[in-house]
Symmetry: C2
Subunit: 300 residues, 2 copies
């Protein structure tokens, strides 16, 4: 059994900012390569409005193409009830609802207030349970906001408590713009884990300022066991100015495995998936391990 | 008073791998810009054989040009007794002696065995004291060697004990090839600090695999107060295949200041120095903060 779970979000967060439309077949190939590397949970797509994020317009098609893949849980991001209406027509078994920790980011990202957003979330909980769909509640810009700056941990903690109360099955704490410091991560996640004893907590990391691995280490020290990263570090939020790539999955796997933290992932096959992910985007890949000479050598 | 001390090594470790010779005047300009950013200790040059590292052939000239700079301590790297003979003819007040944790790396780097190297070190201690020169003893490849792979902490600890016994005024633990994990850093530095109660301990970090800031955070958690980094992350050891840049000074300062750890450094002026450092090299700059949009903005 792995010590930690890594959720790769490259097909969703990695691609959503990409201007050139990637075909559904190529997205399916990326997901298949990730599955081959033993990643068992993948954020495959987003049921966002196609005019807002055209790259995600093929959400249903991507999920359909992935139906034959076994031993894998696919997650779809849901920004609002309309997205949920689309998602429940598919065979998705897990959804990731996103609410921001600040009003400005929530308006820019979802187009409504936090309260309206939360009211919508509460409406889908019962139906999700009936449909046997697992619900993750993610909190964007938990450590800092491109519009409002500093984010009070009190706001994040309040959302965590309310989401658990409302019935979330997992909480995701997102450093959407890669602004968190290890100190913030350790303090906030320690508190979140203390509150959310009963349900799993994930951290979603970006590497904008090079602190991605430092934050992953701090989260691990705080007791976090679920990490959301992106193959080759592709990605960035279209509504978060200055957000560079997600933390590269392969960089995290490399660090964890070298620390003796088992990920269950086949590193060679993950590098293949990372190379393919990078080939789909115009973003500069941030994955550092891929750049290291003799990256597939014996040391480590 | 700052909480930590940052020693910038860009004029030495940053430039030594550069094929195009940088003029002594430009090296002096870099040092001056670092001083303006309030960095108070700088590894300025190396008294290595000019045929081995032609970029450092002007060691005496660089130190001479820097004599008028005030409020600054300059350090020179010394690989052997011949280097010390040269150094003591200058006004240098601090030397950094380097011994590797593995025999193979020591041969490749210094051209002799660890024992011969250590015997030379012992010979210069008394004379250094008489000349009022502070002696740092640095241990290269303390976390992993490009030739021998894993490095036993026992070897490093043994060298630390012997160097203290011999009279070193400071110990430097170097991750020469950027292979250390935060777990290794925390474990080894905790032990080193425990042994070396009486004298200061520095950590020298590279960012080859993106773990530089994670390792800095782990070192800070272990109690380390002195960090060796390079403006703009320029650098890499000519005798360590695959070693990319040093950890960027500005990335470390950014993380520490945002964590409330005072560095005493003027960030704006440091970015100017980093831009200049990058302009001197053909190395891809690794500093992440310099790449972030609105890097000099108000947030953080």
């Amino acid at each position: 059994m792995p010590d930690v779970q890594i959720i790769d979000v490259s097909p969703r967060d990695g691609l959503q900012n990409e201007q050139v439309i990637v075909s559904s077949e190529k997205k399916r190939m990326l997901i298949e390569m990730l599955v081959k590397s033993n990643i068992r949970k993948i954020e495959a797509t987003s049921f966002v409005h196609p005019l807002k994020v055209p790259q995600m317009a093929d959400a249903e098609q991507v999920l359909k193409l992935c139906e034959e893949l076994s031993e894998i849980e696919l997650v779809a991001l849901i920004p609002n009830l309309k997205g949920f209406q689309r998602a429940k027509q598919t065979k998705i078994s897990e959804i990731n609802w996103v609410t921001a920790a600040t009003e400005t980011f929530n308006y820019k990202n979802i187009g409504m207030s936090i309260e309206d957003n939360f009211a919508q979330f509460k409406q889908l909980v019962q139906e999700s349970r009936t449909l046997n769909i697992t619900i993750c509640f993610s909190i964007a810009v938990s450590f800092g906001c491109p519009y409002e700056g500093k984010v009070s941990p009190v706001k994040v903690i309040s959302l965590v408590e309310r989401a658990i109360e409302a019935g979330a099955n997992r909480i995701g704490i997102a450093d959407t713009i890669g602004i968190a410091t290890p100190k913030q991560v350790k303090e906030l996640l320690t508190e979140v884990l203390h509150i959310a004893k009963s349900i799993p907590i994930a951290i979603h990391l970006h590497d904008t300022r090079g602190m991605g691995l430092a934050n992953a280490y701090a989260a691990l020290e705080a007791g976090v066991k679920i990490f959301e990263t992106s193959a080759s570090g592709i990605g960035g939020c279209p509504f978060a100015p200055g957000a560079a790539g997600n933390l590269a999955t392969e960089d995290l796997v490399y660090m964890f495995e070298r620390m003796g933290v088992k990920t269950g992932i086949d590193f060679e096959k993950l590098l293949d998936a990372a190379d393919f992910a990078a080939s789909l985007t115009s973003n500069r890949s941030l994955g550092r391990i891929r750049q290291v000479e003799k990256k597939r050598g014996s040391f480590g």
